[in-house]
């Protein structure tokens, strides 16, 4: 009924190739943006910001980044945690060396530094593929964590090796440090999520995105039709790392405020972001959001339900979380390998025909 293409005429090529060709989708998109930008900031409190929304938005950026590399370009990476650490340490060094510069600049620069590091670690992808590349990126993960632990310059020679975010501002409003208003925390993450998602969507449907997908689908064929694998693979690594670097910078500066590299950016983080991509759906921007929402909200929801509402012992709830997440990953891999994004796509197909399916 609502969800129809019928009657929605396009008279230009531009209108025909827009992101949301169906009117209902467009309205929904604007409605989501309006709620996110104009409603939530007025109602957000510390709990919703720190426990749910800020981590969701930050993981969404990381998942978009990894999805570009793994979902669109087909290069499996287990180095996400390490690249997030690069973003976090880059922003830490920048914000302590140049305290008067706006955080927005620092976060973008942190992303750029991560992009350079990512492209560097992407070089082996020109020679090796698949599992072997996964192992090479795994090396990046361990090397980067080791580096940030080993070289005291990265953590400004602090006694414990921890980095802590001092108070920094955007347009006179504190966005890092303990006195940050939850709305400010939320809005800065939302700003980067919005820009990253739009950027990623437009990159992936343009020339560069098509060359990534060509490499993913069959690299030899892509080379024969004129796609430069060097350029395609390295740009995928760079762009993906740029997003992951931004998410790492936000993760440290805005969300946690203090970070210990081995604990916050260990191999578990790489797997978590990879699971977000797999559960959400490889090769889908919406899937990145869905996967991040799922894996951030599921533990909180289980905890609230099990420990707070039902009053179960906390360790049982905590173990049940592991069982649940593990079970769901197996379920998705078997029943819906294309993830939540595919479920959403099927729903949309059904909605078009509803209420008269054939």
């Amino acid at each position: 009924m609502l969800y129809r293409e019928a009657g929605d005429f396009k008279t230009t090529y531009k209108a025909d190739s827009q992101t949301f060709p169906i009117a209902f989708d467009r309205w929904r998109y604007w409605a989501v943006l309006a709620v996110a930008w104009l409603v939530i900031p007025f109602f957000i409190n510390d709990y919703w910001a720190n426990a749910i929304l800020v981590p969701f938005l930050i993981y969404a950026i990381a998942a978009i980044g990894l999805n570009i590399l793994t979902g669109y370009c087909g290069q499996v990476s287990l180095g996400t945690g390490g690249f997030m650490a690069v973003g976090a340490y880059a922003v830490y060094k920048l914000m302590t060396v140049f305290p008067d510069v706006s955080m927005l600049v620092h976060i973008v620069l942190a992303g750029a530094i991560t992009a350079v590091v990512g492209a560097l670690f992407g070089l082996p992808s020109l020679r090796i593929k698949g599992f072997y590349l996964a192992v090479a990126t795994l090396a990046a993960q361990f090397f980067l964590v080791w580096l940030f632990n080993k070289v005291p310059w990265f953590y400004n020679y602090s006694a414990s090796g921890q980095i802590s975010a001092p108070e920094r501002f955007v347009f006179g409003q504190a966005v890092t440090g303990a006195n940050t208003a939850p709305a400010a925390q939320y809005l800065i993450c939302l700003l980067f999520v919005t820009i990253c998602a739009i950027l990623a969507r437009n990159l992936t449907r343009g020339t560069i995105g098509r060359s990534w997908m060509a490499i993913r689908d069959m690299d030899i064929a892509a080379e024969i039709i004129g796609v430069d694998p060097l350029k395609a693979k390295l740009t995928a690594f760079a762009v993906s790392s740029f997003f992951i670097g931004i998410s790492g910078a936000l993760f440290f500066a805005v969300y946690l405020g203090a970070v210990e590299v081995g604990e916050a950016f260990g191999i578990n983080k790489s797997f978590l972001v990879l699971f977000m991509c797999i559960i959400g759906g490889l090769g889908s921007i919406f899937g990145s959001f869905a996967g991040a929402a799922f894996l951030v909200l599921l533990p909180v929801a289980l905890k609230v339900l099990g420990a707070d509402v039902l009053g179960w012992p906390t360790q049982i709830v905590s173990h049940l979380q592991l069982v649940f997440v593990g079970g769901l990953i197996m379920f998705f891999l078997i029943k819906e390998p294309h993830g939540l994004a595919q479920l959403w796509r099927l729903t949309k197909e059904k909605l078009r025909l509803w209420p008269f399916p054939y």
Binding site: Q162, Q315, S318
Partner: protein, 427 residues
């Protein structure tokens, strides 16, 4: 689409949880799962059971019942933040996260929210400087004290001279494990011993290469900063290379029964520091009869009287004494977090009071002041007796080298104050 049901559940949970009543709220950020659960469980059991005892025996503190909210962190900082945010609105009086990583997160947050943080023998060492860290307390002792106590003990053992000896530090390669390095370096310069460092990648199940290196280098003493599964593995590996156990000293987070029992008789003679003496206290019998037998224990009651259980109980006792102090200062029984902070700052613990509470000699005598949030810093050395299955206290509380520690604390606190634009001063 999918998320809306979860959101609804989350909202329902928040509404259900926020029906707060007028009682003393103590959040317990525990970890009963993950690689550090072996240490987290007894500590949390002891912490909760002592409050349960106060509720059962005295009807709470000053007539006000204590309500414990347990929240599982799994030693994970992100979950720790979630736990903090979900419990702080309930009127939490003091946080005891039992994790250095989570402590670093919570220092700025708790300071901004005005809730005291008690990081007993862990966390940020320079929080002992109460003028910079108004809301953070780490009495009775901190990591740097521990490093100094261990060295002082070794000096004593070597008749006052450590020069030319080698001490190896085997440490958890994290913020926690890296804490004593600076102090040990200063002390090595002062006393002329050689220090060599052996980082162990967390969680520390794999230490073969570390211990092979130790066998090659033959240090005179090994000092360990370990936690969780790392301790058991290290003690087993030390036994495998036949390192003399009496020259192996763990810090106070590396000296509990579950750390040494897996190595069996080979662990006999292993030493560790402790900030709370472990012996038979009358209060343990009361907990057994009034809490465990009554079915109100936090755990299954098996941990009663173990090293970390006693430490958790000691932490709860310090919190309860601070609450009583705050009630006394303000003349109200239902205190706020700000009043709790004043109670902690005015805390004074004497031998007589500890004896009165049924735990004579559990910790050193100390008093807290606005300038000094660190307590006495004393620690004792205990030794594992494998055949009896107990840790035997070898010494009384040994004082740390305050000359070195105070300077380091002042330096680090000043750096923190400069970084965060804090003007040091009492509240």
């Amino acid at each position: 689409m999918k998320t809306s049901t979860f959101t609804a559940a989350a909202i329902a949970g928040l509404l259900a949880g926020s029906a707060a009543t007028a009682d003393l709220v103590i959040p317990d950020l525990s970890y009963r799962t993950g690689p550090y659960a072996a240490g987290g469980i007894p500590f949390s059991d002891g912490y909760q059971d002592y409050f349960n005892l106060l509720n059962a025996r005295d009807g709470g503190i000053g007539g006000e019942p204590v309500r414990i909210i347990e929240c599982e962190t799994g030693y994970n900082t992100e979950k720790g933040v979630e736990c903090y945010e979900s419990t702080k609105g309930e009127g939490a009086l003091v946080y005891q996260p039992l994790s250095t990583g989570i402590t670093y997160q919570l220092i700025p947050k708790a300071t901004a929210d005005g809730i005291p943080l008690h990081t007993m023998g862990y966390g940020r060492t320079s929080a002992a400087d109460g003028e910079v860290f108004n809301w953070v307390f780490n009495y009775p002792a901190n990591y740097w004290d521990a490093a100094s106590v261990a060295v002082n003990y070794l000096i004593d053992e070597n008749a006052g001279d450590l020069s030319g000896k080698t001490i190896a530090l085997v440490y958890h390669d994290s913020a926690y494990g890296a804490e004593p390095i600076r102090t040990l370096e200063e002390l090595s310069a002062k006393h002329g011993f050689d220090l060599s460092l052996f980082p162990v990648t967390p969680p520390g199940q794999e230490q073969k290469s570390t211990w092979l290196q130790i066998r090659r280098e033959r240090p005179d003493y090994v000092v360990m900063w370990g936690w969780g599964v790392m301790n058991q593995v290290a003690i087993q590996e030390a036994a495998n290379i036949s390192f003399p156990m009496e020259n192996f000293i763990g810090n106070w987070w590396a000296g509990a029964e579950h750390d040494v029992t897996p190595a069996g008789a080979a662990a006999d003679g292993y030493k560790s520091l402790n900030m709370n003496r472990v012996q038979d206290y009358p209060v343990l019998d009361e907990i057994q009869s009034l809490v465990v037998d009554a079915g109100n224990a936090a755990g299954d009651g098996n941990n009663l009287g173990k090293v970390l259980y006693v430490r958790g109980m000691y932490a709860a006792m310090l919190a309860a004494e601070a609450i009583a102090k705050a009630q006394e200062i303000h003349g109200v029984s239902d205190i706020t977090a700000a009043q709790m902070r004043e109670g902690m700052e005015a805390l004074e613990l004497t031998e007589a009071r500890m004896a009165e509470l049924g735990m004579a000699g559990i910790g050193p005598e100390f008093s807290v002041s606005c300038e000094d949030h660190g307590g006495s810093g004393g620690g004792l050395v205990q030794q594992w007796n494998a055949s009896e299955g107990v840790f035997v206290p070898l010494t009384d509380f040994i004082a740390p080298d305050d000359e070195v520690i105070t300077a380091l604390v002042a330096e680090d606190a000043a750096a923190f104050a400069a970084e965060n634009n804090i003007t040091p001063g009492c509240m």
